[in-house]
C-alpha cells in the first residue's frame, strides 16, 4: 500500500514539478534578484551617486514640494518617496502604466539628478509576480505556487524515510543520475523551510485573485460599465491647495505612528497622507497620518488592528522582506538561488530519467529545449538586459523599452537556438553554447561596468562589486557545468 502511494506521489511529483517547474525557475530566479531590486536600480542608474544615510534637508523637501504642486496643477497624480538606507534619494514619482517614473532629488541640496531612464530592478520584481502579463500573469504565478506546494508535499512523502538521516548526504562521484538526485534532495531538503515559507506567503499575498472572497458566480457575470461618480468629477476640477512645509508634518507623523519612519507621502487636492515605512518592521502595514491642506493640521491616524489583519501584514512582510537588514537580505537571496537550483535540478532529473525511453520523441525534445531555454536562456537574457543598460546612450529616448526588448529578444533567440539543436538531437551543443554565453556575459560584466561607469564604481563600490560579483559567479558556475558536461561526454 505504502509503495503504491509512493509510486503515485512520484508520478505527481515528476509531472507537476516539470510543468510548473519551467515557469517556477523564472519566478524564483527573478524573485531572488528582486531582493536587491533597489540596489540593481542604483547599479543601472550610475548618475545617481548619493551616498547612503545622506541627511534630508528642508531645501530638498521644499524643492520636491514645489514640483509636486506644479504637477498637481497640471492634473498629474504624484507621490513622494522619502530617503531610506537603501534608496537615499527623494523621489517625486507617478505611474506611467508600466512603472513608477519621475524626478530624483539629492536630499542634501535639493538639486534634481539627471538619472537615465531605465526599468531598473523593478523589472525583475514585476516579472517575478506578473510574468509581464498583468493580472492574468499574477493568477498564473499564484496557480504555479499552489502546484509547487503540492509538488513539495508529494516530494516529502516520497523521501520521508530518508529525509532526516540523509539530510547532508551527497554522492557527486556516484553515477550521474544518483549524483543529480542527491544534489536535488540535499538543496531541496535544506532550504525546505524557506521554500515553503516563501511560496505559501507568496500565494497568500495574491490569494484573492484565484480564490476570491466574492461568490464565484460573480466572476462569470458581465462587468457593468462604470460611470464615474459626480463627486469625483468635482474633485478633479478642484484646484490643488499649496503644500505646507513638510518637515514638521514628518516629525508629527513619526511621533503618532509609534516612532516609525515615514516611507512615502500621497497627495490629494485637499489633504496629504504620510505612510509608515515598509522597512519599519516585519508587519507590512499601510498605517498613515492624514493632514489637511493648506494648513497642515493633523486630521487623523489610520492603523489596522485585529488578528487577521496582523497575520496578513506578517505574511506580506515575510514575503517582501522590506524590513530585512542587509545580512538577512543576502540570506533571502542565497536561499532563493538554492530554491532555483532545486527546481532546476528537478527539471534535469525528469529529463535524464526519461531520455533512454523517450529521447527520440518530439514531446521529449520540446521539453528539453524548453528546459535549456529556461535554465540557460533566462540568465543570458538577464545579463543581456544589464549589458544593454550600460551600452545604450544615457540620454536616448525610449531606452527603458529597448532594455525590455533586448531581454525578450535574447530569450527568444536562446529558445530558437535550443529548438534548432534539439531538432538535430544535439542537445549537449545547445547547453554548451548557452553556458559559454553566460560565462562571457557574466564574466565581462565587471569590465563593462568599469569601462562605462568608472565614477559610479568608485562612488558606490559595494553595490557595483556585489552585482558585478554575482555576474562573475554566474560565469564560474556556467563554466563548471560546461566542464562537467564535456567530461561526461568523453
Amino acid at each position: 500500500m505504502r509503495e503504491t502511494l509512493r509510486t503515485r506521489m512520484g508520478w505527481l511529483h515528476g509531472w507537476a514539478g516539470f510543468v510548473a517547474g519551467l515557469l517556477a525557475v523564472c519566478i524564483f530566479m527573478t524573485g531572488s534578484l528582486s531582493v536587491f531590486d533597489t540596489e540593481i536600480t542604483r547599479w543601472m542608474q550610475p548618475e545617481n551617486q548619493v551616498p547612503a544615510n545622506a541627511p534630508l534637508t528642508d531645501t530638498a523637501l521644499n524643492a520636491a514640494s514645489s514640483l509636486i504642486h506644479d504637477q498637481q496643477v497640471r492634473g498629474a497624480s504624484v507621490f513622494l518617496t522619502l530617503p531610506s538606507v537603501r534608496s537615499p534619494t527623494l523621489d517625486v514619482l507617478h505611474y506611467d502604466g508600466r512603472q513608477f517614473v519621475g524626478t530624483l532629488f539629492d536630499p542634501r541640496t535639493g538639486t534634481s539628478i539627471p538619472a537615465r531612464a531605465t526599468m531598473g530592478g523593478t523589472f525583475f520584481f514585476s516579472f517575478h509576480y506578473t510574468l509581464l502579463e498583468g493580472i492574468t500573469g499574477t493568477r498564473i504565478v499564484n496557480i504555479i505556487g499552489v502546484v509547487l506546494l503540492v509538488t513539495i508535499i508529494s516530494g516529502i512523502v516520497i523521501h520521508i524515510r530518508a529525509l532526516v538521516p540523509d539530510i547532508v548526504r551527497v554522492r557527486l562521484s556516484a553515477a550521474r543520475l544518483r549524483g543529480w538526485l542527491d544534489a536535488h534532495l540535499l538543496v531541496g531538503v535544506l532550504v525546505l523551510p524557506f521554500t515553503i515559507m516563501i511560496i505559501y506567503t507568496g500565494v497568500l499575498v495574491n490569494a484573492g485573485l484565484i480564490l476570491p472572497a466574492t461568490p464565484l458566480t460573480s466572476l462569470f457575470t458581465p462587468e457593468k460599465v462604470r460611470t464615474p461618480p459626480t463627486s469625483g468629477m468635482k474633485a478633479a476640477t478642484v484646484m490643488p491647495q499649496p503644500l505646507p512645509p513638510l518637515a514638521p508634518l514628518l516629525a508629527t507623523a513619526r511621533r503618532d505612528l509609534q516612532g516609525r519612519d515615514a516611507g512615502f507621502i500621497l497627495f490629494s487636492p485637499d489633504h496629504l497622507s504620510i505612510y509608515a515605512s515598509d522597512a519599519s518592521g516585519p508587519f507590512l502595514t499601510r498605517d498613515h497620518a492624514d493632514f489637511s491642506l493648506p494648513d497642515g493640521r493633523l486630521v487623523g491616524i489610520t492603523t489596522t488592528s485585529g488578528s487577521v489583519a496582523h497575520t496578513m501584514q506578517v505574511m506580506h512582510g515575510l514575503h517582501y522582506a522590506r524590513f530585512a537588514p542587509l545580512d538577512l537580505r543576502w540570506l533571502y537571496f542565497v536561499s532563493g538561488l538554492c530554491g532555483t537550483a532545486t527546481i532546476a535540478s528537478g527539471l534535469v532529473l525528469f529529463l535524464m530519467k526519461r531520455r533512454s525511453r523517450s529521447g527520440h520523441r518530439i514531446g521529449f525534445r520540446v521539453g528539453e529545449s524548453l528546459t535549456v531555454s529556461t535554465l540557460t536562456g533566462l540568465p543570458i537574457s538577464i545579463l543581456a538586459f544589464l549589458w544593454c543598460n550600460h551600452l545604450l546612450p544615457a540620454s536616448m529616448a525610449g531606452r527603458d523599452r529597448l532594455e525590455i526588448g533586448c531581454f525578450l529578444g535574447a530569450w527568444i533567440l536562446c529558445t530558437g537556438h535550443a529548438g534548432l539543436q534539439s531538432s538535430g538531437l544535439r542537445m549537449n551543443g545547445a547547453w554548451k553554447t548557452q553556458l559559454c554565453l553566460i560565462a562571457l556575459l557574466g564574466g565581462g560584466l565587471p569590465l563593462l561596468d568599469i569601462l562605462t561607469c568608472p565614477r559610479a564604481v568608485y562612488g558606490l563600490p559595494a553595490i557595483h562589486a556585489a552585482i558585478d560579483g554575482i555576474g562573475m559567479l554566474a560565469a564560474a558556475v556556467a563554466l563548471y557545468v560546461r566542464h562537467r558536461l564535456e567530461s561526461d561526454g568523453k
Binding site: 538521516p165 540523509d166 539530510i167 547532508v168 548526504r169 551527497v170 554522492r171 557527486l172 562521484s173 540535499l186 538543496v187 535544506l190 532550504v191 523551510p193 524557506f194 515559507m197 516585519p282 506578517v314 515575510l318 524590513f323 530585512a324 537588514p325 545580512d327 538577512l328 540570506l331 533571502y332 542565497v334 536561499s335 538554492c338
Partner: protein
Amino acid sequence: MTFPAAFLLWLMAFSCHVRLHPLRYGVSPLGPHARHIAVTGRIVAPGVAWALSAWLDGVTGVLIWFASLSIAGLCVALCLASRRR
C-alpha cells in the same frame, strides 16, 4: 552576530548527526560515551541557536535560524563530498 553564532551551532549539530550515522557517511563509529555526547549535541545545538536567534533578533532571528540551517547543512555536505572525492 546572530548569523555566525547560529551557523556555528548548526555546523556542530550536523557534525554530530554525521558521526551518529557512520555507515551512511563513511566515518568511523563512535564509542558509547561519545555517541551519547553526539546525540546531546544534535539536540541541544539547534535549540540553543533558536533561543539565541529569537532572543537577539525576534522575527529576523527566526529567519536567520532557518537560513543558517540551510547554509551550514550545505557546507557540511560539500565538505563530506570533497573528502570522499
